[in-house]
Symmetry: C2
Subunit: 300 residues, 2 copies
């Protein structure tokens, strides 16, 4: 079943110990879509500027992503410039952001998209995430991602929004910041109490922890020796998770375990290339092969 995602489409300038790349296609919604398209039809809701390279548009189009609600606004495309220092790939240093067209953007969708059953609110301003929700008729599964920026500056909006979602995805630092709990199990319980019945805590190289009222589980990450660029790994992870759940149209313990294994697997490919260089060429066959290896990795 189709999946709609709201988030950013950006031009990224990233420096890592392996090199520097400019004007890469990036942004939370773009990374998410590039991963979720492996599993289901994805509708992208975002804005870019007049300066957005047509090669990036063609590229998204060729991947089968529905760009009907990708607006080209007056102004410049959102730009993010960041750096990862040798060793610690868990922390991106933001060197600069240029909001450009994001400053006056209000998400709008086409009529036929109002009835889409699965929605993911990728990292974005919580007021705009809420706005998208208001356009949807009867979503069955609402997923949400956020980041420290919004926890710090728009906590009230974020908390209001969290109440309305089914599935909340946070990394460990965000889960701790939002709840004041260092222990991730306790943090996940507090997030649950805020509303969402499905809590996913991403731990980067340490894997993922899932919490719900009836069951919890954990998987280690796929062992990647050479990380080129982790930008978008979290969005790629979320794309695999929501993409799989949308595909199987079932949210139970079995499908959630499978979904998080797919999520872990696609994210492991993402970090092996710059930007979405690796995920863009990824096939389901490659994903399935690596997922088998991942499962063997922690089988008793």
């Amino acid at each position: 079943m189709s999946l709609i995602v709201l988030g950013t489409v950006a031009l990224d300038h990233v420096k890592t110990p392996s090199g520097t790349k400019k004007d890469m296609l990036g942004g939370s919604a773009a990374h998410f879509a590039m991963s979720a398209r492996l599993f289901t039809q994805v509708h992208l809701v975002a804005v870019v500027g007049r300066d957005f390279p047509s090669r990036h548009l063609d590229f998204l189009n060729r991947q089968g992503i529905d760009l009907t609600s990708l607006k080209v606004g007056t102004g410049k495309t959102f730009r993010w410039r960041g750096e990862y220092k040798k060793g610690d790939f868990n922390t991106a240093l933001t060197l600069s952001t240029q909001l450009g067209v994001l400053e006056n953007y209000v998400p709008q969708i086409a009529d036929y998209q109002r009835h889409l059953p699965n929605v993911f609110l990728a990292n974005f301003d919580p007021d705009l995430q809420m706005k998208l929700l208001s356009h949807l008729k009867k979503p069955e599964l609402i997923g949400l991602d956020s980041m420290n920026l919004w926890i710090t500056h728009k906590l009230k909006s974020l908390k209001k929004l969290i109440k309305q979602v089914d599935l909340f995805v946070a990394n460990d630092a965000e889960a701790r910041a939002l709840t004041g709990e260092y222990n991730l199990i306790m943090a996940a319980k507090r997030l649950r109490a805020m509303g969402p019945r499905l809590i996913v805590v991403k731990k980067g190289e340490h894997g993922v922890f899932f919490y719900s009222d009836k069951f919890m589980f954990s998987f280690p990450a796929y062992p990647v020796e050479k990380v080129l660029d982790p930008t978008g790994a979290g969005d790629t992870f979320a794309g695999g998770l929501m993409g799989y759940l949308s595909k199987v149209r079932k949210v139970d313990e079995k499908s959630l375990r499978q979904a998080l294994l797919y999520a872990t697997t696609v994210a492991s490919f993402n970090v092996q290339g710059f930007g979405m260089g690796r995920t863009a060429s990824l096939t389901m066959r490659e994903v399935r092969e690596r997922m088998k290896r991942l499962i063997r990795f922690f089988t008793v």
Copy 2:
């Protein structure tokens, strides 16, 4: 098969957000033995002072630990005083150490102990760890643990010793410090190149990573909501690992996976009590029950 362990037996004074306890039985060899005794006969090689409470001696004795080579030296028992701050249980702040009898200690063992097949060199001065090795006739499996103190101050001795061991246990910070590699897979490969054919990287709440030439694997930790005192968790972990391997007398992929699941399980009990309060009363039945839950926790 019997297992001999060299390390410290200490009087610990620990402060955690849950409380403060003084004069607790502690030390690397004591924690190790308290865990390994669940699996096999353990011979303790250590020194205490004249001030060492007889209740602690009786206690170790009642647990079936062979104390023949626990020397009572002239002077005071080694004392460690540490604190864990709210939240971050991965980092112990050492407030003070009083070496006491450790200052002039040279490990000695009884004749019948020279032929023991399994040995673990728990955290201790690498020169003394080497000394114990020289007493052993033909050990089949030599395990080693260390800590940042020795990496900083006795790196040459430590590197010489590492060459001679089969199994090296390090936490993530130690693995990184010893190799200069942040990526734990790369760090494990470098440790392997230093000599030991079996590399275990402990990641605290994030579980464990195992590396060898032919296979590698990873398990998440057992989810503990309320950590009371993590002191000795690493030694308890190593005790479960070496204890199980000594019991089954086989070191292959299957036994290593089982051993690391036992290790993970016993360590999870350790942190739920002060000092060895919880592990001392632990039974194999409890361990097996929790291990089943641990396995379900990450089963696909």
